[in-house]
């Protein structure tokens, strides 16, 4: 097993004929991911190194059996791409595109959420289940198969942690970059729930950063719902107080959003928190 992507993944890349879509789509295939189709309106009938291209996601589902979508289209087309994938019956949608307007994502999120679709991103590095499938831009060569589930708001920081873990001889069940935008399709809790249910995952590392209160909420959720050990790293201990969102931000979340506050919330429910990537890797290694 693994979560979100695995050997059953049949991937359609929306925007396969673009330069990034092509580069990463082919990389994903080279890793072993079953890339069954690409979609670029007006280029139906072409192919990208043998991957058939369709005009619409519906065609990719019907003719190529796609069940997972990877979105690489420009920001202003990304919400449309999400709606198209979901309405074509795709159940796992991973959107790499960054700079998607928050209000558009808010509408798309609210529309998609009750449909039982797993939406990851936007503005995320994707999902990698080492040895099974890589969907997105995560450099898979850094990771190896194992029993640690990794979920993170940050892309490159995820690679760093996974790298540190791998250097200690450990591996990952699945690495999920959920993205750091104001509205992302799946939050920490959504992914933690999947890891809790995944028999291959034995430990979970949660990589957070300053701002918002997602980490605090995740801490509460873990204490109430999770049987597997969770470790955490928070980035931004030395960050200067950033721009605040007016006065309202702090009132809403009831949290200051600092790394220290998050650390305390996590530790209060028994989650060990490292202050550097190296430290969190050592904590996991010690527990294994």
């Amino acid at each position: 097993m693994a979560i979100i992507v695995d050997n059953d993944t049949k991937l359609v890349v929306q925007g396969l004929t673009g330069s990034e879509g092509r580069f990463h789509g082919l990389r994903n295939r080279a890793y072993g991911t079953n890339v069954v189709a690409g979609v670029t309106p007006g280029k139906g009938g072409q192919d990208v190194e043998g991957i058939p291209v369709f005009d619409t996601v519906a065609d990719a589902v019907e003719d190529a059996g796609a069940n997972t979508s990877l979105i690489f289209v420009p920001a202003r087309f990304a919400p449309d791409a999400i709606y198209e994938a979901v309405d074509a019956g795709i159940k796992t949608v991973i959107c790499i595109t960054e700079h998607v307007p928050a209000h558009e994502m808010l509408r798309a999120y609210t529309y998609v959420r009750p449909k039982g679709v797993t939406l990851i991103g936007p503005n995320c590095p994707g999902v990698l289940s080492p040895g099974k499938a890589n969907v997105g831009i995560i450099p898979a060569e850094v990771f190896q198969p194992g029993s640690i589930g990794l979920v993170s708001r940050s892309g490159t920081l995820t690679y760093q942690i996974g790298h540190e873990v791998a250097q200690r001889g450990l591996g990952n069940s699945t690495i999920v970059g959920i993205g750091g935008d104001p509205v992302v399709g799946s939050g920490f809790i959504d992914v933690l729930a999947k890891f809790e249910a995944d028999p291959e995952t034995k430990y979970v590392v949660l990589v957070g950063e300053i701002g918002g209160d997602e980490e605090e909420k995740a801490a509460t959720w873990v204490s109430e719902n999770m049987s597997k050990p969770v470790f955490s790293y928070i980035a931004g201990f030395s960050a200067p107080p950033g721009k605040t969102m007016g006065h309202a931000g702090a009132i809403i979340s009831g949290s200051s959003g600092t790394a220290q506050a998050k650390k305390e919330a996590l530790e209060a429910v028994g989650i060990k928190v490292g202050t550097t990537p190296t430290e969190v890797a050592e904590l996991v290694a010690a527990a294994s």
């Binding site: 960054e98 307007p101 808010l106 590095p125 920081l157 760093q160 104001p182 931004g236 809403i252 990537p277």
Partner: protein
Amino acid sequence: MDLHEYQGKQLFKQFGIPVSEGRLAATPEEARKAAEEIGGPVVVKAQVLTGGRGKAGGVKLADDPADAEQKAKEIIGLDIRGHVVEKVWIESASEIAKEYYLSITFDRGVKQPLFMFTTQGGVEIEEVAANDPDALVRLHVDPLEGFQPWIARRLVYGAGVEDAGEQKQIADIIGKLYRCFVESDAMLTEINPLIVTPEGEVKALDSKFTVDDSALYRHPDIAEFRDTSAADPLEAFAREKGVVYVKLDGDVGICGNGAGLSMSTVDVVVVAGGRPANFCDLGGGGNAEGVVDALEVITRDPQVKSVLFNIFGGITRGDEVARGILEALDRMSIAIPIVVRLDGTNAEEGRKILAEAAKSNLFVEPTMLEAAKKAVELAR
């Protein structure tokens, strides 16, 4: 992007939310002329992107044009929490019978817009939330349902507004503020205070307004509001170059790719005993040109004694970063040491390119922690 009070009010006006008549002035003379055009007593208000203007002397009443000129003279150039006042907003002075508070924010946790309204306005809203939570009415809006009139009624009746004329005007403003919030792609719109005049007229006496940077492409009018003068000169230069840069106080220049890794690099430099000079994020798709720009920004800071590149490639490719660093060394005369740590996509090629260049002030380190230690050591 945060807007100045006068910019937010301009948007309020476009959406039909009542505001006072006003003019922008950059000099005391302009302030005098503005006060003449408006007539009667005016308020002279510093336009700075920070709170606490009033306490800092940035808001003053003026009885007549000569007085407005005098007050503008006192306010322009004032330093308010590190922001130097360059412009003032001159508006018709309002008599205030009551002060309310109204806002909509983008609640990231619940993932819905959140209205907050209270009749206890004019003070710090955090105090109301802490001391008298029942007085602050909160209501989320389902973005697919959209604004419906009952939402305004829940807020107005829930907060105990009793005058029928006020109820009607505020309900109307609530609907318009929602439209303004959504159609301007705002992350926050706040009216504090929303005042009631002795004649019973309701209007917005101040504005706080934050617009989603990702949506600016479809609001060219709002994008033009960008106040480059308000920022730190180095940060303004960085923005010009398209580099995400925040100036800090130390001597180790830092450049990472991705906000999380860049932040973590700042942390690790501190753990290694150093003092970060900045936060700098190459972003997701950093190419050689971006690296050149980033190095130019970082090394403009005279305090910087060493630079640390911490790159973990995904979309960003290690070879591109390496080429960018060499390109920058070719174009600019950079004498200070540069420590590079490369991992991920095409990292090996990148390390090879750097090794082959054999520059004397270029140090390649295998891990993030070792690279940070080296950069800290070189900055001493």
